[in-house]
C-alpha cells in the first residue's frame, strides 16, 4: 500500500481513510472550510445548505485520524426531461492527493445517483485542472462542451458528462420528428447551470 507523509510528519496509510456520508450540521463547517480553501469560486452558506440539506445522501466526507481531508457535494433532479446528477464540489487537501481519495468520494456519490435512477451525471471543471479532468475521464466522463470564460476568474470550463447505460432505444430519425420547427439559433438562450 502506498504511503504519504502529511504536513505534520505522520504517515498516511490509505486504510486509515474513513469515508462518511453527510450526517448533519456539524459536518457543514468542515465542508465549507475545505471548499473555501481549495476552490476558486466563492459560495455563500446558502449554497452549501442548499446542497447538503436537500441531498445529504450524495455528500460524502473523507477523514484521516479525525481530520476532514476531503469532500464531495452533489445534487440530482430533473433537467430538460432527464433525471440527472450534478457534482457541485469535490475537494481533497493537497498532501492527501493521488491516493484515490477523490475517486472514492465521487464514486460513492455517483453510485447513489445511479441507484436513484439518474440517467446521467454532469459537472464543470476548469480546463486547467488536469488532475480533475483525468480523474473524471477514468470514470467515463466525456468533455461534452467547452464553456468560454465560465468562471469568475476568467478561465474556461469543460462541461463533463457521464451517461449511464440504458436499454437500447430505437434510433431516432429527423423525418419522423413531429417537431419540425426551426430553431432560430442566434436567438436561442442557453441556460447556464451554476456550478463550481
Amino acid at each position: 500500500m502506498e504511503e504519504t507523509t502529511t504536513p505534520d510528519g505522520s504517515i498516511v496509510d490509505e486504510s486509515e481513510i474513513e469515508y462518511v456520508s453527510y450526517a448533519g450540521e456539524h459536518h457543514l463547517p468542515l465542508i465549507m472550510r475545505l471548499v473555501d480553501e481549495e476552490l476558486s469560486e466563492p459560495y455563500s452558506i446558502f449554497t452549501y445548505r442548499y446542497f447538503v440539506y436537500l441531498w445529504p445522501n450524495l455528500s460524502f466526507l473523507a477523514f484521516h485520524k479525525g481530520k476532514c481531508i476531503g469532500t464531495v457535494v452533489s445534487k440530482m433532479g430533473e433537467h430538460r426531461n432527464t433525471f440527472r446528477g450534478y457534482i457541485a464540489m469535490l475537494v481533497v487537501l493537497k498532501p492527501y492527493r493521488h491516493k484515490g481519495i477523490a475517486t472514492e468520494l465521487v464514486t460513492r456519490s455517483i453510485k447513489v445517483m445511479m441507484e436513484s435512477g439518474c440517467e446521467e451525471v454532469t459537472l464543470e471543471a476548469e480546463v486547467t485542472n488536469k488532475g480533475a479532468l483525468a480523474l473524471y475521464g477514468r470514470l467515463g466522463f466525456i468533455r461534452a462542451k467547452r464553456l468560454f470564460r465560465y468562471y469568475l476568474n476568467g478561465v474556461d470550463a469543460f462541461r463533463l458528462k457521464l451517461l449511464f447505460p440504458h436499454p437500447e432505444l430505437p434510433p431516432s430519425h429527423p423525418y419522423s420528428h413531429s417537431n419540425t420547427v426551426m430553431s432560430s439559433v442566434l436567438e436561442s438562450y442557453e441556460a447556464h447551470e451554476l456550478g463550481p
Binding site: 470514470l139 466525456i142 468533455r143 462542451k145 457521464l162 449511464f164 419540425t180 426551426m182 439559433v185 436561442s188
Partner: protein, 739 residues
Amino acid sequence: MEENINNGVEEQESANHEPTSVPVLNPSIPSGEQTVWADVASLLDSACNDLQDGELIHGDNFNLFAAMSALEIMDPKMDSGIVCRYYSVDEAIEDGAAPIPLSLNKTVDVHCMIDVMDHMLSCEATWHKGHSLAQTIFSCIYLLRPDRTSSHALLHSYCTVIRSTCNAVISAVSDSRTHEEEDLFTITSGLPLKRDGDEKCLSMLNVIEETISRQLHACKSPSHKKRSIEDIEPLQTNLDLEEGYCKAVLCRLRFRKHFYHVLVCLRRPQGRGLELARKHIASCLVELDSILKTEEFLRANNRNGMWEDGMESEDSTTASGCQPIGFDSTLNSRLSAPTPPRAIKVFCWKKAVEYFQKLLHDLDIVCSHPIDPLHEGALRFVVEFQKLQPDLVARSHLQLLLVQDGKLFGRDPIFTMICKAAAVPELAKNLDIQKNESFVHLCQLAITLLKILCTNAAWQRRQLGKVLQDWRIIHMQLEIALRKEFEESSSTSLDENLCMKIYKNILNWVEEQTYWIAFRFLILGFELELYAPSEYCMVYWYIYVILIKLGEKMHLRMITNSETAKRKGKKKRESMKDVAREPAIPPAVLLLQCQIYLAEGLTLMISALRNEHGVFQCRGPFNSEQERFIQHFELLQKACIPDHVSYYTFRDYTAHSQFDTLIMCNYFKEAQRIAKELRGSFVNDKNKLTELRHIEQVAEHNGIALNLVSRLGSLDPSLKVSFEFNHHPHFATAVVKRS
C-alpha cells in the same frame, strides 16, 4: 427530495410577536402610499432566537440560483458593494484622487496625462479581452465625471474620443450578436457613456493635435531655447524635454484619431469604407510603433520631480512605469452586483500595445477580403480567418461586413448566392421559386451559418451542432416541395426540366453544406480539446464517414458544374475511393480524399493498437464505449448524419483491424502521394498549400510509425504510442517511444 429546507420556520415568523410601539423613523427614502417605515430590529431579534442552527427562513422560490446569488456581506470574494477606499466618486474627487489639472507643474501635468493615456490603453485591451467596461476603462475617475474635464483641453478631448470609441465598439459587437458568451462586454449600465458633444470628438482631437504639432515644430526651431518664438506657448515648462513630450502626446492622440476612423470606416455599408479603413489601420500601426519608441524617454524622465513607484517594468500599465493618477477600479465594482466582482488584472502596457497590433492586423485581413458574392469563398475566408484566433471585436466586424440587411456584404441576395454556389442555371434567378417557403428558410439558414462561423470556437461548435438538424429538415422540406412541384405542374416541359434541375442542384448543395457543417463540428472538438486519446478512434471514424459523404456531394456538384465532366459523371456512381484514381477528378475533391485517407488510416491504426496492444480503450466503472459514442455524436445521430450509421457500424468496422493487414494497404502512403501530386494544382492558393504540406507531414510520420509498430510492436512490449497535434490541428501524429 429527502428533507424540506425550511423546516417550517417561515410559518411561525410573525405568530409570536405583538406589534410593539415602533419609534417613528425619519428615513431619507419615502415609504410610499399607505405604508410607513417601521423598525423591525426587535422582531428579527426574537425570530433569531427561535431559529436553530441550519434553519433558514425563505420563500418558496428559494432555489440554487437564489442560493448562489446570496452574498455574504463583507466577504471580499462575494460582496461587490464592499467599500474599498471611497464610498463614492465624489468622495474620491474630494480626496484629490483625480485632480484637474493633474499637476500644477506643467511638466508633471503632461507626464501624468501620458500615464493616463497609457493606462487607459491597458484598460481598453483588458476590456476587449473580456473584462467589464466598468472595471476597466471606467475605473477612470475623469471619465466618470465628464463635465469636470472641460477646463483641461488635452484631458477633455482624450476622454471624449475614448467614450466615442467605446460606443463604436459596443455598437459593433451588439449589432453583430457574436458575443453570446461574451455579453459582459456590452454591459454598460450606470456608466456615463454618452455625453452631448461627443460627436465632435474628432474635431476636438484635431484642434489639440494641431496645437501640439505647432509646439513641436516651434521647439525644433534653433531659436526656441531663447523662448523667442512668437506667440506659441510650449506644451510644458522644461524646454529640454519639450520635443520628447510633444512627440509622446502626439503619437498617442493620432493613434486615437486613426483608430476611431477605422471603426467608423468599417461600418460603412456594403464594405465601401474598407479601403480607407486599411489606410487608417496602417496609420494606427505606425503610431503604435512611435508610442513604443517613447518608452525610453518617458522612463528616463519619470523621476523628474515626480513620484516613484517600485513597480516592475514588466507589469507596468504605463510606458513611464509610473502609477497613473485618476483611476480606482473598486469604485464601480458594485455595478456588477449581484454577480460577485470578477478578479481582474489590467494588462501591462506592452501587452496592451501588442493586443492592439494584433487587433489591427486582424481588422486589416477583414478589410482585405474581396467583396465577391461567392458563398464558398466567404465560408472559406471565415474559416481561415478564425485560424488566427481573432478576438471578439475583430470577429464582430467580420460578421457585420459579411451579413448586412440579410444580404452577403449587404449587396447580394442570399438566394442568388445559393444559386451560384449550387450551380443553378442562370435563368432560375428570376423564377418564382425563391418565394417558396422552403427557400426562404434555406436563405435564413445560410445567413445563420455565416454568423455562427464568426463566433468563438466554443460557442460556434455548440451552435453548429444545433443547426445540423435544421439543415436536415430543410432538405426534407425541399424534397417534398420538389415532389409537389411535379405533381401540380402543368407548365411546359422546358420549365419543368429547369425546375427539376434547380431542385436537384440545390438539394445536393444542401447536403454538401450539411456534411461540411458536421465536419467542422467534429474538428472543432480537437481545437477545444474535447476528445480524450481513447476517443480518437471513434472520432476519426466519424470524420472518415462524414468526409466520404462530403466528397460525394462536392464531386457531384462539380460534375454538374462543368460541362465536360457532365457526360462522364453520369456513368459512374462509385464510392469516393475508386473515384480518386481517375485522372479527371477536381483537385478540391482530391484534397478531401487525402483527408479521408488520413482519417481512415488513423481509425485503423488506433483500432489495431486497441485490438493488439490493449491501449486506447474506453473503460470505466460506470459505462462503456457505447455511451461515450452516443454522447459525442448525439447531435449527428439525431439528425441522421449520415444515414444508417451507429455505434455498431463503428464497432464492426474496427473490431478486426490488425497491423499485418493494415500495412498491406497503407492509407498514409496514399494520402502522402496524392498530397504531393496536388501541389501543382494549388500554386496560387497559400492556404491550400499549407494544408497539403501539413497533410504530407502527418501522413509521412504516421506511415513510419505504422511500420515501426507493426514490425516491432509484438516483440517489444515497452513500445508506447501517443498522439500529438504538432503537424496538423486535427489530424494527429503518432509518436512511438520506448518507455
